[in-house]
C-alpha cells in the first residue's frame, strides 16, 4: 500500500478512520433506496455502481499486476450469456445462474490466459483485444446458435416475485438490482482488500514492478498472473450476469461491445490503478458524469448528441495533465498547480 499524506496525518488511527469511512459509505449506499428517489435516479446510481465494480475487477490484472488487459468485455459478455443460458435453458434461479456465468468467465480467462499472459506490454493488450472480438463472433456464430440463439439474442425472464403486480414488481426490481449492485461492489472491494494482504497480492505487485526479478525470487509468475486474470474475469462476469437479468434481453453486439472494456479501464485509470479505492471512485464518478451529460441539459443546451465527444475531450485532458489518475493528486503532500506542469514535463517528448 502506498503511503499518502493522509496516512501520515492519521498515524496509528489510520485503520480505524478508513474502516469508519468505508462503513459510512456503505451505510449511505444502503440508505439510498429508502429515500424517495425516482426510478431514474436509482437506475443512474446502479449503472455507476456497476462500472465501479468493473473498474475494480479490471484493477486485479491491469492495476495490481500491471498487464494492460484490453479484452475484459469478453468476460462481461460470457457472464451475461452464461447467466442467460442457465436461466432460460436450465431454469436456474438468478443467483446460482449469475455465479455459473462468472465461473464460466473465470474458466475462460484461465484457458486464454495461459497462452496470452506469456506476452507482455502492447502485445498482450492487442492479443486480449483480439480475443474479445473473436469471443463475440464465436457467441454470435451459427455453430453455437443452438445455445446462444446467435444474433437474435436471448430474452430472460422478468424479475417477478410472487404476489406482486407487474407495476409493483418493476419498482421492487429497481431496488433489487440497486442492492445487488451494492452487494457486488462490497464483494469486489473485500476481495481486493483481502488480496492486498496475501502473498499472492504482493506477488502481483512484484510482477508489475519487475517480472523477471519476481521470477528470480521464486514467485510462480504464470500461476499468479492467471489467478489475477481469472479474478478479474470472475467479477466482470458477475456484473455481466447482473446486467443480463436486469435488462432481460441480451444481444452479442450489445454485451460484447468494446465500450465495456474501455469504460472499466478509464474508471480505473482516472481514479488510480493499483489502489483499493481509486478504481471505485473513478468508475463511479466517470459513469455518473457520462450519464449526466447524456440526459441533462445544462443552460438549456442539449448535450446529448455531443456527450461522447465531450467525454473524449475530458479523457484527453485528464490523461495529459494527470497521467497517473486522481490518486496522483491524493498521494501528494501538498497541492499546487505546478503538479500539472510537472507531469507534463516528465512525460513529454
Amino acid at each position: 500500500m502506498p503511503t499518502t499524506p493522509f496516512d501520515r496525518l492519521l498515524g496509528n488511527r489510520r485503520r480505524l478512520v478508513y474502516g469508519a469511512a468505508g462503513a459510512a459509505a456503505l451505510a449511505a449506499l444502503l440508505l439510498v433506496p429508502h429515500l424517495s428517489l425516482s426510478g431514474f435516479t436509482l437506475t443512474w446510481l446502479t449503472t455507476a455502481l456497476l462500472l465501479a465494480v468493473r473498474a475494480q475487477a479490471w484493477n486485479f490484472i491491469g492495476g495490481y499486476t500491471g498487464y494492460a488487459a484490453f479484452g475484459n468485455v469478453a468476460f462481461y459478455g460470457l457472464g451475461a450469456y452464461g447467466t442467460a443460458v442457465a436461466m432460460t435453458r436450465l431454469h436456474w434461479p438468478f443467483i446460482p445462474a449469475m455465479l455459473a456465468g462468472a465461473l464460466l468467465a473465470a474458466a475462460y480467462a484461465v484457458l486464454i490466459g495461459l497462452p496470452v499472459l506469456r506476452m507482455r506490454g502492447q502485445y498482450f493488450a492487442i492479443a486480449t483485444l483480439g480475443v474479445a472480438e473473436a469471443t463475440r463472433e464465436l457467441v454470435s456464430s451459427p455453430q453455437l446458435s443452438g445455445l446462444t440463439a446467435g444474433p437474435t439474442g436471448i430474452n430472460l425472464p422478468f424479475f417477478r416475485p410472487a404476489g406482486l403486480s407487474p407495476l409493483q414488481a418493476a419498482t421492487a426490481g429497481t431496488r433489487y438490482f440497486y442492492l445487488a449492485a451494492v452487494a457486488l461492489l462490497v464483494l469486489v472491494v473485500a476481495a481486493t482488500w483481502l488480496l492486498t494482504r496475501t502473498k499472492l497480492g504482493h506477488s502481483l505487485v512484484a510482477i508489475r514492478e519487475d517480472e523477471d526479478a519476481a521470477h528470480m525470487l521464486g514467485i510462480n509468475t504464470t500461476w499468479a498472473k492467471v489467478v489475477s486474470f481469472a479474478l478479474s474475469a470472475f467479477f466482470t462476469g458477475l456484473v455481466g450476469g447482473h446486467y443480463a437479468y436486469w435488462r432481460t434481453f441480451i444481444l452479442p453486439e450489445e454485451v460484447f461491445n468494446i465500450r465495456y472494456t474501455l469504460d472499466a479501464i478509464l474508471g480505473a485509470v482516472l481514479g488510480g490503478p493499483g489502489t483499493l479505492v481509486g478504481p471505485v471512485l473513478g468508475g463511479f464518478s466517470y459513469d455518473a458524469l457520462s450519464t449526466y451529460l447524456t440526459f441533462s441539459k445544462p443552460f438549456g443546451f442539449d448535450l446529448g448528441q455531443f456527450h461522447v465527444a465531450i467525454l473524449g475531450v475530458f479523457i484527453v485532458v485528464v490523461i495529459v495533465f494527470l497521467p497517473r489518475g486522481i490518486a496522483d493528486l491524493l498521494g501528494r503532500r501538498r497541492f499546487h498547480w505546478g503538479i500539472f506542469l510537472e507531469n507534463i514535463r516528465k512525460n513529454r517528448a
Binding site: A68, G121, A125, I126, E137, S140, G312, V316, P323
Partner: protein
C-alpha cells in the same frame, strides 16, 4: 471450382495492396514512436469522407482526391502529435492507448456530426468496369479484375515504394529511423525528437488518408468504418513484424489470402475470429512476427 479459387486468389492479391497501405502508417507510428495509434481507423475514415465530399460536392475524380486527403491528414496528424501526444509520450503504455482512443471517439463523433451516420459510397461512372482474365469463350465466364481495384493496388504499392525510398534515401527519413532505433542516441547526434515524432505521425496519418480514399471507391462506408481496419492493421503488422516495409506487404498478403479463403469456406461467419486466432498463434510462437525484426 478452379475458377472460384482463381477469382479468390486475384481478389486476395488486389486486396493485399490496399491492406498493406492500411497497415503501413500504423506500422511506422508503432515502430518509431512505440505508440499503438487507436485513432488510425478514424484517420482512414476521414480520408474516405474527404474523397466523398470532393467527389460529390465538387465533382472531382476520386483518384485525384488522394493527394488532398493525404495533405489534410498529414496536417491533422502533425497537429495531433505536436499538440497532444508529444506531451504524454513517455507516460505508461496505457496512457497513450487511452489517449488515442479518446481521439478516435472525438473524430468519429465529429464525422457523425458533419456527415451524419448514413452509409455512403463513391461510385464514379467507371466504377463497375473491368476486364476478364481466362474468359471461357462459350460461357464468357472468367476471373474478373475491376479497374478500380487494380488501380488501388498499384497506387498502394507505389506509395509503399515511395515511403521506402523516403526512409532510406533522405536525411529526414534516416532521422526517423534513428529516432525509432535509439531515441537518446539520435538526440545526441542532433536529431530533434519532438518534431521527428510529429513528422512520423503525420506521415502515418497521410498514408491512412490515402488508404481511406481508396477504400471509399471499393466499398460503402459510414463513420464507424475505422474500427475494423484498425484491427486489421494490428494483425498485419504483427504478422509481418514491426519496423519493415516489405514485412508489412507480406503480412498484408498473408492476411488477405486467409481472409478471402475463409470467406468462401463454411467458417465465413467466423472470419475475424480466424484472423485473431492466427494472430495469437503467431504472437505465441514468434513474438517478433513472422518476418522477425528489421528497421525500415
Amino acid at each position: 471450382m478452379i475458377l472460384t479459387l482463381g477469382q479468390s486468389l486475384v481478389n486476395a492479391i488486389l486486396l493485399s495492396g490496399m491492406l498493406a497501405l492500411v497497415a503501413l502508417g500504423f506500422s511506422i507510428v508503432w515502430g518509431v514512436l512505440k505508440v499503438i495509434n487507436l485513432a488510425h481507423g478514424s484517420f482512414i475514415m476521414l480520408g474516405a469522407y474527404i474523397t466523398f465530399t470532393c467527389w460529390s460536392a465538387f465533382g472531382l475524380d476520386p483518384f485525384l482526391t488522394i493527394p488532398i486527403s493525404m495533405l489534410a491528414l498529414f496536417l491533422i496528424g502533425y497537429a495531433i502529435q505536436a499538440g497532444i501526444i508529444n506531451w504524454v509520450i513517455r507516460a505508461p503504455l496505457l496512457v497513450t492507448f487511452l489517449l488515442t482512443f479518446g481521439l478516435d471517439i472525438v473524430l468519429v463523433n465529429l464525422a457523425l456530426f458533419v456527415w451524419k451516420g448514413d452509409v455512403r459510397s463513391v461510385s464514379p461512372a467507371y466504377a463497375g468496369n473491368g476486364f476478364t482474365l481466362f474468359a471461357d469463350p462459350a460461357t464468357s465466364q472468367g476471373i474478373q479484375v475491376p479497374y478500380v481495384r487494380l488501380a488501388a493496388f498499384a497506387i498502394s504499392l507505389l506509395l509503399a515504394a515511395a515511403l521506402h525510398l523516403f526512409m532510406s534515401r533522405t536525411r529526414l527519413g534516416r532521422a526517423i529511423q534513428a529516432t525509432g532505433q535509439d531515441k537518446d542516441a539520435a538526440q545526441l547526434s542532433g536529431v530533434r525528437v519532438a518534431p521527428t515524432y510529429a513528422l512520423t505521425f503525420a506521415i502515418g496519418a497521410a498514408l491512412a488518408g490515402a488508404a481511406g480514399s481508396l477504400i471509399s471507391l471499393m466499398q460503402p462506408f459510414d463513420p464507424g468504418m475505422g474500427g475494423g481496419y484498425r484491427l486489421r492493421a494490428f494483425i498485419i503488422v504483427v504478422l509481418g513484424g514491426l519496423g519493415s516495409i516489405p514485412g508489412v506487404i507480406m503480412g498484408a498478403a498473408l492476411f488477405a489470402l486467409v481472409d478471402v479463403l475463409v470467406g468462401i469456406s463454411p467458417l465465413a461467419p467466423l472470419k475475424d475470429g480466424v484472423a485473431f486466432a492466427m494472430l495469437v498463434v503467431v504472437l505465441i510462437i514468434r513474438p517478433s512476427g513472422l518476418a522477425g525484426k528489421a528497421f525500415y
